[in-house]
């Protein structure tokens, strides 16, 4: 077992990416994500990898996509304003099926907002930030150790499904320091870069999907001479104006993620066996929520908690089950109310869903969430 270390969330995120095989980082400095870039600048060359500081956020996204096609596992890191700038190329990665991981350490917005103050305001941007129709995977850790684990998962999912994956951190988790014990390298499961299963002579086409609906475009320089484009394309990778091919292309992008939705939905349940009120939460807010729920249990209140690690695709089934067995769901978030809309939709009226938003640069206190729990507990008792 490795030694226990005092480590920051951003640092753990970088370490997780390295452990999963990331060997290329392109980025542009923006708080509160900069420690990820700084860590990669120090660590990547030690393992033969490459760090490059680009001229802007868009170039940072472009350079990692180029490097990914060149055969490397790639990461970039940013915060809200930079995340917005990267969006066009996040869409490019989705349609061109280029593995890439984007860590977004959220801060208060819109625009420059409140730099380096904690927020969870990019939940919907992570899902819908780019144009057009595409699926999205976004994972949000709540501890420093989990920032490491989420980074490993994000890299693996991006490689396995050849799609951009978002690590949705918040400033609380990104800048928090905790004692962590990281797994040994040989304990970490790593998904390797997909390779062509046919030769050109056998009729290989770079965008022909395998059984899992994911294609195997060859890395550049391996002799396949493939064409990669952000235009809607057929199996050959070349653009087409065909309505049929367009429909098939967009449908397959969605279906390759839809069919593994349950497998990649990660969450924790606490005190849910007899809960009448559930707190559904994620990221840094989940830490405060846990303290509040524990306190409520100590008072004898039938309160449980569900903590979502997978934000997208949304955990519909998990929330449906929670809604079916509770009377009310409280959703504290460091924003004006974002994921609560999905929870309300999934709950479909089976349980009352109450938003508890906070967006004043301060994190929740246990008393604030506790107060909202008290109110809900008394309401459901009526």
């Amino acid at each position: 077992m490795t030694q226990a270390k005092l480590m920051q969330g951003n640092e753990a995120c970088a370490q997780g990416a390295l452990a999963a095989g990331v060997r290329f980082f392109g980025g542009y400095p923006i708080t509160p994500s900069t420690e990820i870039a700084e860590q990669m600048a120090r660590e990547l060359p030690k393992v033969g990898g490459t760090f490059i500081q680009m001229e802007d956020e868009i170039a940072s996204m472009a350079v990692i996509l180029g490097a990914s096609l060149g055969g490397k596992k790639v990461l970039t890191a940013t915060s809200g304003p930079g995340f917005s700038l990267k969006q066009e190329l996040i869409g490019y990665a989705a349609i061109a099926e280029i593995p890439a991981v984007i860590a977004n350490v959220q801060r208060v917005g819109p625009s420059t907002g409140q730099p380096t103050s904690p927020a969870q305001g990019d939940v919907m941007q992570a899902r819908w930030g780019t144009h057009g129709d595409h699926p999205m995977i976004a994972l949000s850790p709540w501890t420093v150790r989990e920032a490491f684990d989420v980074a490993v998962k994000a890299v693996n999912y991006s490689e396995r499904f050849r799609t951009p994956v978002i690590i949705l951190l918040d400033e609380v988790v990104g800048h928090m320091r905790e004692k962590v014990v990281l797994p040994e390298q040989n304990e970490i499961e790593i998904y390797p870069r997909r390779k062509p299963t046919k030769s050109r002579a056998e009729g290989y086409q770079p965008f022909t999907p395998e059984d899992d609906l994911v294609p195997n475009p060859a890395d550049f320089g391996t002799g396949y001479r493939i064409h990669v484009s952000g235009l809607v394309h057929d199996d050959t990778g070349f653009p087409t104006g065909s309505p049929k091919v367009t429909e098939e292309c967009i449908k397959r992008l969605h279906e390759k993620i839809d069919r593994v939705k349950d497998e990649i939905t990660h969450y924790d349940e606490f005190f849910m066996d007899d809960a009448e009120v559930a707190v559904v939460t994620y990221g840094g807010t989940a830490r405060t929520a846990y303290a509040a729920v524990e306190a409520a249990r100590a008072k004898g209140q039938k309160v449980g908690m569900v903590r979502l690690m997978t934000i997208w695709p949304f955990a519909d089934k998990v929330i449906q089950k929670v809604a079916a067995k509770t009377k009310a769901i409280l959703v504290p978030e460091m924003n004006y109310g974002q994921l609560v809309r999905e929870i309300e939709r999934a709950a479909a009226g089976q349980a009352k869903v109450v938003s508890l938003p906070k967006y004043n640069t301060e994190i929740f206190t246990p008393a604030e969430i506790g107060g909202a729990i008290d109110q809900l507990v008394s309401e459901v008792a009526k």
Partner: protein, 272 residues
């Protein structure tokens, strides 16, 4: 010398360019340069941006990457740094390279990554339908400048040189015999190379400005492009509307991926 035709995806031709367009001449010049240098077809990558010029990547039989508006250079930077054994050629247009991609252009030149950028300069946004680009000459008309442009155009060669490019050259579609050689020299330069290739767009640019058909536009290039040595002997008055051709600038500076390999050596050895 190899036959340049082996570098085309014949099943993707004919191309989509308009009759009279000079892009084919430039694309063929790139293929001829590659043939001349007998480059490894499997270790050469062509990266393009968006627009008429950037469709060329699809016609060429290499690993090819048709990126997003203005972003060819940073994509190409990633390809090269991920695998420095690859030779990377960037195809871009005047709007793509110097407007939406302007910042990437100057920073690409500054970094001196080994990229060969061939800038197809037709002085207009062609595919979008004739809007003014940063290389549309002042007073010339465009659909977004119906009374003539007020903006001054960049000189992309001077811009690249000032930003740190280690090889800068200019050719035209009229000077088709020399262009492959200029591109080949750019590919041989181990660093950031710019080859501006001026090309006629009779449909979107020529028609609005009454420049005649493609042959008239090519003729104009022949009359106004002057070899660098001769250009330097001209008086300021004689230089009006004339422009220098050939290798305009060369210098030496460490190539980025080679320099970064030293960073890796230092880091792996535990030194700072």
């Amino acid at each position: 010398m190899k036959d340049y035709e082996q570098y085309f995806r014949s099943n993707r031709l004919p191309h989509i360019w308009c009759p009279g367009c000079g892009n084919g001449i430039i694309m063929k010049s790139i293929a001829k340069a590659i043939a001349k240098l007998d480059m490894d077809q499997d270790k050469t990558v062509i990266v393009s941006g968006i627009g008429c010029s950037s469709r060329a990547s699809g016609y060429m039989d290499f690993d090819t990457l048709h990126t997003a508006h203005g972003r060819a250079i940073p994509f190409a930077t990633g390809v090269k740094l991920a695998n420095p054994e690859l030779k990377v050629i960037v195809i871009t247009g005047d709007g793509d390279c110097t407007a939406i991609g302007g910042n990437h252009f100057i920073h690409g030149a500054r970094r001196n990554v080994d990229l060969t950028v061939v800038l197809f300069n037709n002085n207009i946004y062609g595919m979008t339908g004739g809007q003014a680009s940063p290389l549309t000459p002042t007073t010339k008309k465009a659909t977004t400048a119906p009374y003539g442009t007020v903006d001054r155009p960049f000189d992309p060669c001077q811009l690249a040189q000032a930003a740190g490019a280690t090889f800068v050259a200019r050719g035209t579609a009229f000077h088709a015999a020399q262009l492959p050689d200029l591109i080949a020299k750019g590919i041989q330069n181990n660093g950031f190379s710019l080859i501006e290739a001026i090309t006629p767009c009779p449909i979107s640019y020529g028609r609005q400005n009454k420049l005649g058909d493609s042959s008239a536009m090519l003729k104009w290039m022949g009359e106004h492009g002057v070899p660098k040595v001769a250009y330097e002997k001209l008086s300021a008055e004689e230089r009006t509307e004339k422009f220098p051709l050939g290798v305009l600038y060369e210098s030496q500076f460490g190539e980025y991926s080679a320099e970064y390999a030293h960073v890796i050596e230092r880091a792996e050895g535990g030194q700072k």
